[in-house]
Symmetry: C2
Subunit: 392 residues, 2 copies
């Protein structure tokens, strides 16, 4: 048992080191990164190459001595599937072990029911899977704008989807063959922030994301704060106006009641089917633009200031629909944050715009779906498609 | 160098293990706790006994085999000094390595200036020191109700003392002989929470303390969240009423503006020199009692709910002047927290009363002043008073 466990641990250490390195790395480089001996690393690398989890590039000569053989996670040998279930669309993304996109599908428009949304999502998973029929599927991770049970199976509450206690995983399973692998639901903001953490390794920051709702994540030295139920960072339901507007969650005065997609649609006087991108465009042309920016800036600023006082952080990252309007809202946000956050006494609070891809929750979901391979590569050694050899 | 470092590390591991065990422990027990070998532990224990940092009790026979010799941190061989500088009093506490009180002094009444408060504090340190003239002094830690510079020397802002940029450590130094050891200032709430953590090892909770101001600390699995500047947990300046009452910090709508000592003195219609204990008594007899309890409960509940949404914690501990009135305010606090905290959807939020000593900041300061001995016992081996031997 001990040696099986040790082998699994070492296989994982090598594969994770290669992922974290972010560039082709030699066996000697991996030995240095993992603090394993070179012979041990060479043996593990051979297993991982044989299983199609690592690929070798062409040897690179660097002056005298043996040429360096670059290793990287293998392309096109496994399929991991990310789903995003949002108020106005469902998207599906298939990636391989390198994180490269293999296939992508989106259906726009609001589903009439949870059942319909789940059926759409399952159909997209089938299509993405059909685009790479020969690859073993690692699993599916679904990003959902709400609170999920700790086991990742039940959506407890997703006010912007009008979902309460929806058994998402069970629903997807009834539509999908068992070969779809493990299916797990996770909060969309917790998945989105993974891309931001990649850009800011080891940093601490408050991540605020506007999508259908407004959510966030607390990142402490590169790790997402989980909290008791995995719900930490729920900025959208902090109170910015006691006794104020009624939020879709039923509470009064929540930040979301002022700056969510629904709240903004109402302020802009638009129909219910408008896409967030179009909404932002509309707002930027609207005659009430200054007023809307003021409402967003002040309520967001207050929620952020309160969070910063509890967390004592000095960096805030605006993402989702807040990123494209960051330049406009930041002066108002900054004014409110500076007025109320104690950390502003020690130096300016940095309010930054996220530069992530336009679909960080979907990308984060696909990335999370890959994680089992990095955590326990041994299980995949017998299942991977490519039998052996050099693929670069 | 390596072996000096290793020896220091192991001495510290043994002494910390003995402190953490909280009960007399044998050499074999320490070997098991530290994962060091028994011969190594025996050698380290002899050094620590010789230096007066550990004492041996009388051997205890337990059936057959060698009798067990109980070890504990040595009593009466070192002096660590805690100070508390509050709006209405200055207190000083001297403890030995067991945490036992050796001497205590308090002066009541508000000091006219920072200089006067510092002079009073220094006088108390001298008196406590004079009560144990033969013991080497580890150092002095001062608990201050405000924000301290990261190096622990400057009080940046303590609104309830009317202090801004007060060089506390330098001030104390001018009054005290160099033999007072290291002097450091720390936030009173961060020190108070240490006692609570001892009672709840490994737990996660939001700690809220009412004293002259209202502060707190965030405890995640037994560790205090520091934040960028060491100011995390500053619940007192989260906004509970946007544009509301002006706080002593100059901001508007802070929790402290509604429930601080000063705010309550005003609500109770009392003079400025009333002690917190008397104020609480007065409030409980007051005809406006229900109204005051309502204000405290609602504003505190809102601040707590917002903090819980960011942190996703399910336990709140009320301490300081909030502890004796916890029973009265908890129903109102609970109502507001349940209405706004998402975690309440997963199960009841536990709102508990701290059972700590009446002066947790002072005790925490003394405890923190001991810490250098546990961190680096080697430095004390040459300085401790008792040359050798059994003291139990």
């Amino acid at each position: 048992m001990q040696s099986t466990h040790l082998r699994e641990h070492n296989l994982s250490a090598v594969l994770r080191a290669l992922q974290a390195a972010g560039e082709p790395t030699s066996r000697a480089g991996l030995a240095s990164l993992t603090r394993l001996t070179k012979p041990t690393v060479s043996k593990l690398v051979e297993e991982l190459i044989g299983a199609g989890l690592i690929s070798e590039g062409d040897p690179i000569s660097a002056g005298a001595g043996r040429p360096m053989v670059p290793l990287r996670p293998a392309a096109g040998t496994l399929l991991a599937i990310g789903l995003e279930i949002a108020a106005d669309h469902v998207s599906c993304l298939g990636v391989d072990l390198t994180g490269s996109e293999l296939s992508r599908r989106t259906v726009y428009g609001r589903a009439a029911s949870a059942e319909e949304a789940i059926a759409r999502a399952a159909q997209l998973v089938r299509e993405v899977r059909a685009d790479a029929p020969d690859l073993p599927v690692v699993g599916v991770v679904a990003a959902v704008p709400g609170r999920i049970s700790p086991d990742g199976r039940l959506v407890l509450s997703a006010p912007n989807l009008d979902w309460t206690d929806v058994p998402l995983v069970e629903g997807l399973r009834t539509h999908l063959a068992p070969e779809a692998g493990d299916i797990v639901a996770l909060n969309d903001n917790r998945l989105s922030v993974l891309t931001e953490i990649d850009r800011r390794p080891g940093e601490s920051f408050l991540y605020v994301r506007g999508s259908t709702g407004v959510g966030g994540a607390v990142v402490l030295e590169g790790s997402v704060l989980e909290g008791t139920h995995g719900w930490a960072g729920e900025l959208g339901h902090t109170v910015v106006e006691p006794g104020g507007l009624t939020c879709r969650c039923g509470r009064r005065g929540c930040l979301e009641a002022y700056i969510s997609y629904h709240a903004l649609v109402e302020q802009a006087g638009l129909g219910p089917e408008v896409r967030i991108e179009d909404l932002v465009d509309e707002l930027s042309r609207s005659s009430s633009r200054t007023e809307v920016i003021g409402v967003i800036g002040r309520s967001l600023g207050l929620a952020i200031a309160n969070a910063l006082n509890i967390l004592d952080l000095s960096t805030v990252v605006l993402s989702g629909y807040l990123a494209p309007i960051a330049e406009e809202i930041t002066p108002v946000v900054r004014e409110t944050v500076t007025a109320h956050a104690l950390a502003a006494e020690a130096g300016p609070i940095s309010i930054e715009r996220s530069d992530t891809t336009p679909d960080p929750a979907l990308r984060g979901a696909a990335r999370a779906a890959l994680q089992p391979v990095f955590d326990a590569p041994g299980a995949w050694i017998s299942r991977a498609a490519t039998p052996a050899g050099r693929t670069a």
